[in-house]
Amino acid sequence: MITALLLFWPALAALLVLLIKGQGAKKVAFIATLVEFAIALFATVNFVPDATTQFALDMPWVERAGIGFSIGMDGISLLMVLLTTFLMPLIVLSSFKHDYKDPHVFYALVLFMQTGLIGVFVAMDAFLFYFFWEVALIPIYFIAAIWGGARRIPVTFKFFVYTIFGSLFMLAAFVYLYFQTAGTGIAAHSSNVNAFYQLTLDSATQSWIFWFLFLAFAIKMPVFPFHTWQPDTYTESPTQATMLLAGIMLKMGIYGVLRWLLPVVPMGVSQWADTVLVLSIIGIVYASIIAIRQQDLKRLIAYSSIAHVGLIAAGIFALNEQGLQGGVLQMLSHGINVVGLFFIIDIIFRRTNTREIASLGGITQTTPVLSIIFLILLMGSIALPLTNGFIGEFLLLSGVFQHNFYFGAFAGTTIILGSVYMLRMFQGVMFGTKSEATEGFADLNFNEKAVLIPLVIMVFWIGLFPNTFLSISEPAVGQLLSIINR
């Protein structure tokens, strides 16, 4: 029941918000997301850390086709739900100083998207998963395309068609798998996740199914060379949409790999794992080098996001416990860091009207609080010990090293290259002499602190006590590995 509540509460709140005209909508949306977070915390407290699917709800949905409305959470789902529900109130809060036109529609779409996101993370039925996968896409498309920057229309359209194209392949693969499940006649088949896990397909079939599914997930993450939609979309979207995309939505792709790719076609995965690793590592190096050359702050973080996701993908496809656990933890860390960084860029942009590194500088002189918080988030992002990024990247890299030394060596460049572009950015924006734009730059106000301080707390929490989270996902990851190695 808790899962259903988590799933439907945001949708309900979205309908409510739609009715509120004017800027009151954002307050209602904020309260709604806080309530959602409270429900998620309640679920976490009642969660028993073992490998089972908990808070499960299983109802017939399309009986004729044997499709169930099956939702539930294991450790991995729970962490993703926690991340989503934790970030959502902050994302809404971060928009309080923006006066978007038609706020009731804006916040209704944000809340509606939350239902889609939660749905993706708790769906235990392939078609339900696909359903929510698309449900999450539609609101974010509209948010980005209506409230975005000047080039928003072609850019978001590319994003939309690109992702739909990928997910149609996923749907085709699901339909095929569904017909491979035991039984004759449509009603006897099942699209439940466990039925998929029990499939024994020959390796040629697994091989093409792997690519059908991987295409959808790789576009969403995005993994090189499917990333071309990402920098433009992140740059042109309004900040809140960028946060949703980078903080939560790309996790859908990684989560999809964990839930619907690795255990379903393990032979296909082992055939192609090295290919994916190579792609991911190319992505890491390639995106990092491009990030070093960027002048626009938002684009820089967008490319850094490709690099970080590349490392997560590499760790996961190393197919060992360190890699997978690191991947799960790094999803949390990346979500927290990237939302914080995008918000800081938004703060800078609103005060100076520019995102060009060259025209900024000297901000530290008047802003002690902002400088410290920016630095902490930055350190988290480049994986300094004591911060969240360190734990995740350490686990990921040790996973990749275990799999193959040379892959590990190349993937490890992410830390060096990451420091280069991040510190170069920090130096250009925060240090040096004041420019025309940064003259009279005010420090954080209450609202901005309220967004950033919880993020900073989480940076240290995960950095110092990663076991709080690792212990939740450990049994589920263990079970995942046992299915893969079966």
């Binding site: 399309v62 086709a65 996968w133 194209f165 149609l168 392949f169 095929y176």
Partner: protein, 461 residues
């Protein structure tokens, strides 16, 4: 059965009401008539009966399709408000023709004899020829009417020719008996007259449902026909056509499956490709919808190709999902054209700002036509693909259809982008009556309801 009699009777009443001074009563009266027919039709549920010496059979298949066609007509009718203000002399005739054409449509889903199929098709078509040319002040409408009539008569001839050949080969018009003659000997497959007749029938019906390569009339006729009748043409007429097609193939020609299936597969692929690719290049909303209606005929034919026990409910669900979405799209298009005088995508600019409700209705209908989850269209496509996938030789067709469905997203979103992302310019908000607003809300709600709980419709057959 009573529904056919009632529809005919109500049609005649409408004709006489047309002589009255106050023609405003026609619309509410017709709505009432259709509501009665809808209710009465349901009485025949689970009560299979044959009528007129086995000419018609009212079974659940007939009742279900009659139900969705009557319901679609009910949803289209409010948009005829437009005609009332025009104070047309012949207003009663349109409402009468509409009900008469429904009689034809009902016969097309309940026939037991090829003659009844022919008569039903003619009743439906002749009414449609008149409707296509009903805007007498417009040259385009006259052209559409003439074009539709000439082409339609020609293909009706082809269809009739085919039926006669089947009669020559089997000695009967009764579809069950035709099926039986094939079962006795493998004669049906080798008999040239039989095969030729079958081919001509397939061509004749393909024309009616605008399947390629017999689709060429569709864009022109759709464009010229007054929009509200275009909506009727692309929903009820198509539903009746596909339902009749499936019934014919399933009940009469199942045994010679192998001889007509390759033809049908070719028609389907062509229809999907031409419909989707043709729609991409359109700048005119109405022409885009015309091509999209061709492509949807292709998706419905996929369920026919599947040819198993799931086909009929797939077709039923798909037809209704497609109908509700099309009605909303054509309905709003009519309002936009009336106010802004253009059918291009630009005419929809800023509609999201000036008329949020209209924009929402179009958006949901476009999502549904594109087959995106949360709308009925998604499950329509899903059921069609799922029924086809039982047949492993047809995997390639599903892949083709999936890729073309992605193409579909591209052109359906053109209008969505125009509505929400382009400024309205000097367009004023469109005046919409409360009744039409309510209707649009109902249609949109239906589309979403079936997108969340498809079992409401998919499990009844």
């Amino acid at each position: 059965m009573i529904s056919i009699i009632l529809l005919s009777g109500f049609g005649i009443i409408n004709l006489f009401v047309g002589f009255l001074k106050s023609k405003r009563i026609l619309l509410p009266l017709s709505l009432l008539f259709l509501a009665i027919v809808f209710g009465v039709n349901l009485l025949d549920w689970n009560d299979t009966q044959s009528y007129f010496n086995n000419m018609l059979t009212i079974d659940n298949y007939a009742v279900a399709f009659t139900g969705i066609m009557v319901l679609s007509t009910l949803l289209i009718l409010p948009f005829t408000q437009h005609f009332i203000t025009r104070n047309d002399e012949n207003l009663g005739e349109y409402y009468a023709l509409l009900l008469f054409s429904l009689v034809g449509a009902v016969m097309m889903v309940s026939y037991e004899n090829l003659l009844m199929l022919f008569v039903g098709l003619e009743i439906l078509s002749i009414a449609m020829y008149v409707m296509a040319g009903s805007d007498k002040s417009s040259l385009r409408s006259a052209e559409a009417g003439l074009k539709y009539f000439l082409m339609g008569s020609f293909f009706t001839g082809v269809l009739l020719f085919g039926m006669v050949m089947i009669y020559g080969a089997t000695g009967t018009f009764n579809i069950t008996e035709i099926s039986a003659t094939q079962a006795i000997g493998a004669d049906g497959v080798t008999n040239t007259m039989f095969v030729l007749g079958l081919l001509l029938i397939v061509i004749g019906i393909s024309f009616k449902i605008s399947a390629a390569p017999f689709h060429f009339w569709t864009p022109d006729v759709y464009e010229g026909t007054p929009t509200v009748w275009t909506a009727y043409m692309s929903t009820v007429v198509k539903t009746a056509g596909v339902a009749a097609f499936f019934k014919l193939m399933y009940a009469a020609f199942a045994a010679s499956y192998a001889s007509w299936m390759p033809t049908l597969v070719a028609i389907t692929v062509l229809t999907l490709v031409i419909g989707n690719i043709g729609a991409v290049v359109q700048q005119n909303m109405k022409r885009m919808l015309a091509y999209s209606s061709i492509s949807h005929a292709g998706y419905m034919l996929m369920a026919l190709i599947a040819f198993n026990e799931y086909s009929e409910s797939s077709i039923l669900f798909y037809s209704f999902a497609y109908s509700t979405a099309s009605i909303a799209a054509f309905g709003v298009l009519q309002l936009v054209v009336k106010q802004r005088g253009s059918e291009t995508f630009e005419a929809f600019n800023g509609l999201g700002k000036t008329n949020p409700l209209l924009a929402l209705a179009v958006t949901v209908s476009m999502l549904s036509l594109g087959g995106i989850p949360l709308t009925a269209g998604f499950f329509g496509k899903f059921f069609v693909f799922a029924s086809l996938i039982e047949n492993p030789d047809m995997m390639w067709l599903i892949v083709v259809a999936v890729v073309l469905a992605a193409v579909g997203i591209y052109y359906y979103f053109k209008v969505v982008i125009a509505m929400y992302m382009h400024p309205a310019g000097d367009h004023a908000p469109i005046q919409v009556s409360g009744f039409i607003n309510a209707m649009l809300i109902i249609i949109t709600a239906l589309t979403i309801l079936l997108g969340i709980a498809p079992a409401l419709l998919s499990d009844i057959l």
